[in-house]
Amino acid sequence: MNEQPKHSPDSTPPNQDGAAAQRRAAGVNPLKPSERMKIPRQHAVEQTARDRVRNFTEVSLGMTEELALREAERCLECRNPVCMEGCPVSVNILDFIRLILKKDYVGAVNKIRETNYLPSICGRVCPQESQCEAVCTMGKKHQPVSIGKLERFVADFEREAGLFIPPELPERRPETVAVVGSGPAGLTCAAELARKGYGVTVFDALHAAGGVLRYGIPEFRLPRDILDMETERIRALGVTIQTNFVVGRTATIDELFDEWGFRAVFLGTGAGTPNFLGIPGESLSGVYSANEFLTRVNLMKAYRFPAHDTPIRIGKQVAVIGGGNTAMDAVRTARRLGAEKAYLVYRRSRTEIPAREEEIEHASEEGIEFVLLTNPVEILGDGRGWVKGLKCQRMTLGAPDASGRRRPIPVEGSDMTLEVQTVIEAIGQKPNPIIQSTTPGLSTSDRGTVVVDEFQTTSREGVFAGGDLARGGATVILAMRDGKLAAESIHRYLNRNGAAPADRGNGQAAMTEPETAVNA
């Protein structure tokens, strides 16, 4: 994949002759397709691994204007832009890249914002390699266009130049909507509803907005000033963000309707309850769920202890159990907190690791040791209540299971022990049960997720849901797609009710079909 050296951007100077410059100014790529294919994929500048394991600042520094222009020139401008079909929210990738060629970067970011209100976040955390870039035509014979890094470039350009202009809002409608959870699903739903003129209040249980973007994703992947800026831009749409409010406890869904006067509710409370393996030794000091570990560091800023009061305890040797993006975030965070050895213990092989390729590579560069085909069976204590080791069993891969991945099978007599003082379990999360248990009539699955149909409608009238609460653990962009789709459904729902309140109960007001079918 990466034959290009990462830190020396390839910079054959862009074509500078007059006619080409004119065409470029008009937003037309002067290069023939064959010439475009000759340009190698441009890479963002990154902090070196040596530097970044000592800090929490962002790993990728993004593309310079020159690199971005060069990369944009690689786009083949397909007549049928399949990249847009690869995007869960159908960002108009072709048009935004053409606007980059025109050097209209603000136009480009606003083009993205038409369908995705959080471009500087998606440009950083979206798994582009399995979405837009996976289907890019250029990627069939060469490397795909670096769509994610271009998205990030225009968003960063706009921010650094201070050129953001809040979109014009339609006349304010009388109806108000409650959005529960200020993660990617909730923020997107709120932005979409506000842009349709609804009054929106977003409720969050924590003291800061952003949900998993705040407590889960580390600063070295998503700097907090970027997140603060994006949430401020949601507020700029007239959205109220009410923190320190646990829906289900501070007020129930029924109270939001009956006492607070909301006309619809979107639930986007994510999957915040950590799973534990259930192996012996989980009560020892030094065992964390990835959620607790990351929340202490990201939300509570334990890495700045004692300037911030929340402590974190990290051993010289740390084992993180799991293979997802959360596991990668935890193990790389442990390294930055000073762990000399940071192991990632995963029961399948390298091929099956579900984390993003970029994160796996970054972790390897940072000296993370991958202990693959290995399954923890017991956390060993030192007799005084502290972790001193992780007893594991080696695995081999058998036939594919229901998920299509090869099933790990224990190898008899293969026990081994990792000497560690900290164990972090990153083996998945499930939805928090508070809302489900306080909302009568809300259907849930046996996995604890809220059941929704293809319009994000729940079993309760006026209540919609999406993101990890409905999916049980997915990506930021899929949560955003759900939030966006739910906003459409809420809009139809309120218009149906608002336009013909007398018709309610007459069986006339069937929900209309959406204009386009969107696949998850």
Binding site: H207, V246, T250, G261, F262, Y288, A307, T310, R313, I434
Partner: protein, 284 residues
Amino acid sequence: MPPHPPRDRQAPPPNTIISRRLLADSIGKFDIYAPLIAKKRKPGNFVMVRATERSERIPLTIVDADEDAGTITLIIQAVGKSTKYLLTLYAGDAIVDIVGPLGNPTPLVAGKSVVCVGGGVGTAELLPIARGLRENGNMVRTIIGGRTRELVILEEEMAGCSDEVYVTTDDGSYGRRGTVVDQLNDILASGTKVDAVYAIGPLPMMKAVANATRDTGLKTTVSMNALMVDGTGMCGGCRVNVGGAMKFACVDGPEFDGHEVDFDELIMRNRTYSDLEKFADCQS
């Protein structure tokens, strides 16, 4: 603004301290303006409090509430950095973040004979439960204790909702010399009919109470003060081994059957940060 329930224009900003009184040198009683929480709270509920922008989130039991005044009552003992800071606040000051009510309300029996056992500042957490039990028509006997006279709190309030109140101090400076468990053992040995015991205090005290009632199988409810970060079920830091199953004190509790709780595990794990907490404290 969205259609919040009507707000009184004269009302103070949320989380403002309305009144503050010291119960002992290191124990303060605060009435705090938090109308949404005041309206919803039930005995056994707690709030998560972040004292300043740099503070930890700490769980504090809601001792009382006045729905009309929109206030909740917290009783805070200065033991760590956050609680010491909170004790420096006065009426008119505001606390940065308060969220709740959290946890499950205490399941209260009705029409029975119960003993409430409170140790140290745990007495504050016990008060709303004792009141609830009294309202449910129970015969309420209350035992409260502390290391020394100064740390025995809320005797008058407890007397107001109990049929009998017993006081113990470790050093004998007030009430009976001994522990609350000594007093409980005497009551149990006297043949008095007791249907349930509610105990809140330091973990070793609750463990001793659970051990005292274990043989008779007398229903004993204890309240787990585990380490917590969010208080809403997200971190798992407050996990407690109850009858061999992992429970989260914040969403499955905070009250559990004292005979099922593995106290020793929790006592060990609650020490995880004790040295760091001291360090943070002396840095301030």
